[in-house]
Amino acid sequence: MEPLVEVEELSGGYSPRRPVLHGLSFSVAPGEMVGLLGLNGAGKSTTIRHLLGLMKPFAGSVRIGGVTLEEDAERYRRSFAYVPETPLLFDELTVQEHLRLTAMAYGIDESTYAGRAERLLGEFRMTDKRSAFAAHLSKGMRQKVMIMNALLAAPPLYVIDEPFLGLDPLAVRSLLERLNEEKRSGSAILMSSHILSTLEAYCDRYLLLHDGRLIVSGTLEALRESAGMPGATLEQLFFRFIVPERDAYGT
């Protein structure tokens, strides 16, 4: 199956003299949920920013849906929906208006939008907040709006950065159930999070970043084999791969 995300030898960051990412290569296939793991500062957010086209690689390439941003910006952007760690909303728009704006931007027709919006508002218990301004929502509710926007667009790829921060347990469950559903229907999901138990329960593969390098990747079984720790949890594997390096730095 043709991969949806293809990252090849990606080096990037804020200054070419001090790159944050060093030659990353990975792919994400349709119908696959991939967990992006690493300590703070490992390069997870920088990787995501390169995928989104917010940063330009110093070397290497990023393809989404078979094209780079330069080749076909519109196709590239319509191939994914992004849920950032910090919700990005227009203060003067209501929840419902954000959903409508998203539907219009992704070219979703009105009847499909209406059906999806109602379902999402119900699932995320936001029906009574549909007319509230984004400026008046709590952090968790703002995050729900971002998640609803992404799910409303139903793109081939979801890029999700720390989605659980500020969400109530019911919303976390709704999100994970919907992501599983999207995965089954063929969408790819790249999710970054520090909640390893959740990633272990839901992801098919993992990318472990450390100091801007991909130190290990693969299924849970592959990671166990690579670490020589049969039956280990993702958390045990994470510490196995990360901690020896930290010790090597004398920290």
């Binding site: 989104l52 086209g53 917010l54 519109e74 952007r77 319509r78 992004y82 950032p84 990005l88 227009f90 203060d91 003067e92 728009l93 208006e97 409508r100 704006l101 998203t102 539907a103 219009m104 931007a105 992704y106 070219g107 027709d109 009105e110 939008y113 301004f133 400026a135």
Partner: protein
């Protein structure tokens, strides 16, 4: 963190002055000061002429009492507090009196200066009212009233419930108006006695509602509002990034967005429509319509400039409305959504121009009508037609100008 809180507030005030200094320079270069000076000279000349022929039935005392009461009740406070202070300054709440001292002093001095300037302007008119107390003798009384009002405003800020705060403010305004009226009409000792009784009544009532020890949230909100007001003002003369502003619902206008056809090419049209209506741009347009319509109607009624004053006022306000509506092009220029969502970039400029032109048209019609209708009813058909036509002609002219502006900005 600065150990001395009084010094900290002073440093913040200084930093604020330094931050706005470049914008003040832009303002000085914009020609706005010349406009203000000319407007002040024109107003002064009109006022001087009015003083020579004050109609016998003109309510000198009532007008003076209302103006002075408004200036006395208004008690702005520049604290320079920011939400982050909830973390850093809150633990030192017991020391905040030192921080607030200079804020209160600054508020009192600037408020008193404004009030005394108004008193100076009003004094010649007051002299003609046959009041029992001299102009100079009332100055100390007014200064004491100002101090009492500032203290009252602080008590109101501390009130935990908004309804109680609003009620107390209303009571303070009514009592201040009554006290000023008494000062203007009654012998000084009796008027002072009344003012003291009013202050005691207010103080007794204000003891009842629940109060915060220190009104952190209210001061954060007030400071944010003040900053937004300054930014809005400076943004008229210079390119200033917008800080968070509280949106207004304005359902009487926002329904228009519901009429926009659901299609990808209309994405920016919907966004800009809602932005214009719900943000300060819409608020400013509404104020321009209200003030412009009043000014146009009043100028027309005065019959000045052979009946053309109304039309000229309408054109000026329609021009200002067009410029204000055009500022919608600055909205969302740096929004991250543009990079994350597949917004149809090609239609952005067209949407901004369409929204600005529609809003300008919605302003131009009432402005033209407010000046034109009374003129037509008075049989002055040429100025009536000119008021309406002039306002409407400005709409496509300003839209073309806006398009050129955006082309130039895009090229840069």
């Amino acid at each position: 963190m600065e150990p001395d809180l009084e010094m900290l507030r002073r440093r913040r005030a200084e930093a604020w002055r330094k931050a706005v200094a470049p914008y003040v320079r832009d303002l000085a270069r914009s020609g706005f000061p010349t406009f203000v000076v000319l407007a002040a000279l024109a107003a002064l000349s009109g006022y001087t002429a009015f003083l020579e022929t004050v109609p016998p039935d003109f309510p000198i005392t009532a007008v003076g009492a209302v103006v002075m009461a408004l200036l006395l009740v208004r008690s702005p406070l520049r604290t320079h507090l920011r939400p982050a202070d909830a973390v850093f300054l809150m633990p030192r709440e017991h020391e905040m009196e030192r921080y607030m001292k200079s804020a209160r002093r600054g508020g009192y001095i600037s408020g008193s200066a404004l009030m005394l300037a108004a008193w100076l302007i009003y004094a010649p008119l007051y002299g003609q009212s046959g009041a029992p107390t001299g102009t100079a003798a009332l100055v100390p009384a007014l200064l004491v009233l100002k101090a009492l009002n500032d203290a009252g405003a602080w008590r109101e800020r501390r009130m935990a419930r908004s309804a109680a705060r609003r009620l107390c403010r209303l009571l303070r305004a009514a009592l201040t108006l009554a006290a000023v009226y008494a000062l203007f009409t009654e012998p000084l000792p009796a008027a002072l006695g009344f003012a003291a009784a009013a202050a005691a009544l207010y103080a007794a009532v204000c003891r009842l509602p629940a109060r915060h020890r220190f009104p952190w949230q209210r001061l954060f909100d007030e400071e944010a509002r003040t900053r937004r007001r300054y930014e809005r003002f400076f943004r008229s003369f210079t390119d200033l990034p917008a800080e968070d502003e509280t949106p207004a619902r304005r359902p009487y206008a926002a329904w228009v967005a519901g009429l926009i056809r659901h299609s990808r090419e209309n994405t920016y049209l919907m966004l800009y429509t809602l932005t214009l209506i719900r943000t300060d741009i819409g608020g400013m347009l509404i104020r321009l319509i209200a003030v412009g319509a009043l000014a146009g109607a009043a100028a027309e009624a005065s019959g000045a400039l052979a009946g053309w004053a109304g039309a000229i006022a309408a054109w000026l306000f329609a021009l200002a409305a067009g410029m204000q509506a055009g500022t919608v092009r600055h909205a969302h220029r740096h929004a991250v959504w543009r990079h994350l969502y597949p917004l149809p970039e090609a239609g952005r400029q067209r949407a901004a121009v369409r929204v600005a032109a529609a809003a300008h048209f919605a302003c131009a019609v009432p402005l033209g009508l407010a000046a034109g209708l009374p003129a037509a009813l008075a049989g002055r058909y040429a100025p009536a037609a000119a008021a309406m036509a002039g306002c409407l002609v400005l709409v496509p002219a300003m839209a073309r100008r806006l398009r050129r502006h955006m082309d130039r900005e895009a090229a840069e």
